[in-house]
Symmetry: C2
Subunit: 216 residues, 2 copies
DNA sequence: TCCGGAATCCATCCAAAGGTGTAGGGGTGA
DNA sequence: TCACCCCTACACCTTTGGATGGATTCCGGA
């Protein structure tokens, strides 16, 4: 009798990378790529259609973020098994992806053996977080959560707004802005707005893409 | 008579991506992958060994940056044909790579058809810069060059240093630091240090990796 | 119901950052 | 040699940012 293959969905926006992954996985005994998606919306459609055993997913996707896709899939199919496969994206993304229900988090730098082993492990019900990732995660744990308002302010700081401008945008007084800043500086463990901005970018709290200037 | 294949060297640090690229290129008629490298030092060694017709190279590499590798290869072999293949890395990297002698700059998001067509075109002696990239480049052109000292100061700003600290690090007076800042703010088209920091990161003038805290 | 955290606001004080003008020394290319 | 740019530096002034302490409202959990 023929052994059942593990049915895999590959979600990755870079064509050549996706094609490479598919080619790589399809030659492996016991694995079968049943679907591909290049963006978040497509990913959900493909998942519904194929109900794969394992979903390999990049976090940076057009149209809908990888984290949102994970959340959505998990909501519809709580026992879905998802593996995040991405380049380093800052502590925040790791945290959110795992929070959202990803079972494993792999970096693209890993070998194909590791990838395949992880797919098998996750399919067997295990989780897998590389040591390097676990470390980042542990670091993050020591950090307090920003409140929504503090996050709003931080976002504006990253966008280069002055306190006065932030007040105007959020429709609060400049004094309040200062209060929030004071509190978020403490939580981020930094001493001024510039450090807060770089920390926010580096940790992935505020996505770098949001910096691109909208056309004038 | 058998047509000569175009001999390609693939330089890319992410294993799965590299394997995918190699698999993808090897099945194409008229292309032959003659070498692979996972970091900059290896890249140069492989280039010397194989003297490939085309070198596909990622800009983010361990041990030696892609731009440095390009410069080095071009110095030794001025007629080397190099294609940069990378995810978006900020205007600065594009500029420096082309400056260093790359003939084409492709994003990983492109289709494999585009990739193959570009390889053939560059092999035939042409250059190829996608429209989206050319646009960034044009934008950059309007910008004045930072002086070395201004760059030093900007780097420190990104690292969250105060003017006083910057003065100490660079061994100049705080007044001089302010002078440099004033001038670089103008050149970057921003109004304060926080904007300067995010602009530097976003444009790739200061690499984000340099922000990682060295272990205490 | 009471407590605590979040969010809002205010005033005050001091430090830091930014704007402007000026100026000397060093190097380089026309 | 002269013009030009870079680096350095200082003075002066204004604006912004950050620290601190105190205050009100609202809401959800114990």
């Amino acid at each position: 009798m023929i052994k059942e293959s593990i049915r895999v969905l590959v979600v990755e926006d870079h064509h050549v990378v996706r094609q490479g992954l598919v080619a790589l996985l399809n030659v492996v005994d016991g694995l079968e790529v049943v679907g591909e998606a290049a963006d978040g919306v497509e990913a959900i459609a493909q998942f519904r259609k194929h109900q794969p055993d394992i979903t390999l997913i990049d976090l940076r996707l057009p149209r809908m973020s990888g984290v949102d896709v994970i959340q959505r899939i998990r909501m519809e199919t709580p026992l879905a098994r998802l593996i995040v496969l991405t380049t380093y994206d800052g502590d925040e993304d790791i945290y959110r992806a795992l929070q959202a229900g990803a079972r494993a988090y792999l970096l693209k730098g890993m070998t194909s053996e590791e990838l395949i082993a992880t797919i098998r492990a996750v399919h067997a019900g295990k989780s897998h977080i590389p040591a390097a990732i676990a470390e980042k995660l542990a670091e993050r744990m020591g950090t307090e959560e920003l409140t929504p308002r503090e996050f709003d302010v931080l976002e504006q700081i990253v966008h280069g707004k002055s306190n006065k401008e932030i007040g105007a945008v959020l429709e609060i007084s400049e004094a309040t802005v200062k209060t929030h800043i004071n509190s978020l500086l403490g939580k981020l463990g930094v001493t001024d707005r510039t450090q807060a901005a770089t920390a926010a970018i580096q940790r992935g709290i505020v996505p770098l893409e949001s910096l691109r200037k909208p056309k004038s």
